[in-house]
């Protein structure tokens, strides 16, 4: 991350999150309003809907050095656009299978439903992702592949 942390040996996981504007983004806002502290390793990218998340973005996130990726939106039935998350869910399901066959580490790709009221869930999930990624270490396989490119 910043120069200081980079110079130390401690590994700081880098997490990219693609979240929908209406549920998860507001859930993250609520975590803030309620001062629910969580690790600072996550970078949130706000999109209108999980329906907008094209999965090449996940690949891109790994390319730029992410150690884990989160995609999160409204619970089924709560989508601001009624069905964007349903479309996303079907694509995720298939995309996971593909990533699995390619040998991408599925422990580094997270999907979740977090509503605008679930600040605590956001806090808990981010903490868990960071802890788990810290435990797994940097995503060396992909980093190596990028380095060789």
């Amino acid at each position: 991350m910043n120069a200081e942390t980079k110079s130390t040996d401690a590994f700081e996981p880098k997490i990219v999150a693609f979240v929908c504007n209406w549920c998860t983004y507001l859930g993250a806002d609520l975590a803030g309003t309620n001062r629910l502290e969580y690790p600072a390793n996550i970078r949130i990218l706000r999109l209108p809907c999980t329906g907008r998340v094209d999965f090449n973005l996940i690949v891109k996130a790994f390319e730029i050095g992410a150690d884990a990726v989160l995609v999160s939106g409204c619970h089924p039935g709560d989508c601001h656009y009624t069905a964007g998350n349903f479309h996303a869910r079907r694509r995720w399901d298939l995309f996971r299978e593909l990533l699995d066959t390619v040998g991408i580490d599925l422990n580094r790709v997270y999907f979740s439903w977090i509503s605008a009221a679930e600040g605590a869930k956001f806090q808990k999930l981010v903490t868990e992702i960071v802890d788990k990624t810290r435990e797994m270490g940097p995503y060396e396989d992909y980093k190596k592949l990028v380095a060789e490119s």
Binding site: E63, G77, R89, D141
Partner: protein, 298 residues
Amino acid sequence: METELRNAIRKLLEEKTVDVAIGYGRVGVNGAVGATFVTNPDDVDRLVWNNECRQNLATHLTRAEIKKLGKPAIVVKACDARAVVVLCNEAQIKREDVYVIGVVCDGIETADAAGNKTGALMGKCLSCVEHAAKNVDLLIGDEAAAKALDEKNAPNAKSVGHYEKLAKLRAMSQKERFEYWREQFSKCIRCHACRQNCPLCYCNRCVADKNRPTRIDTSSSLKGNFAWNILRAFHLAGRCVGCGACAAACPAGIELDLLNLTLANAAEDQFGYVSGKELGELPLIGTYSPTDKEEFIR
């Protein structure tokens, strides 16, 4: 069968039912089988049908230069016929604007590096349970024999051929799989032959060729190759008919169709979806069910 096929096409051309026939002929060096276009009824003897007819000719249906020739007749195997159906469903062609000639296919042989046939059937053929093409205007060949072959293959269909390969791949550890593809993709030269030979890659400009933004590294870097091959497979999710044209065309010999098979398998297992089965069927991606599975979602 070959004679029957030639006669049928001669008649279609003579009667002006169609303006051009897209079939197979010995067109390559050393007489390799490839796409042949016949517009004159007297030329039908150039057409062949044998177990070297590897290409999926449906890829030509969307090409502007072929469209110019007028209404086509096309020779298809069962797998290719499903690509025609997908093209219709995706509004790239109108079903009534093409005359589809299905040929009963008892399997296509693989070719070695020199292009000679090996005597071994292609992986997709070992697990084939549809030897007679469906949704065709004319079927040439013995339907009963095709059915017998279907029945013969059915019990083991999901455990032989490239299914067997996929199972082996999936049995590896995640790291081993990654290493496997790392090695495979390091051979990729980004010639995009996989795309050019795919009947369903008809975009006017491929995402891989777009540069605002550059979604995929355009050079044949390892990261670009990963991104490209993942994206290519995913763009065919719920669409790929498993014809294997991509892998057959790959000069690096990468078994690209295993990626497509993964998705086709998932589509069938999880959504009961087989692409190209019916005219008018809705796409797998772009539709949803409120009850789609989601146990992986947190």
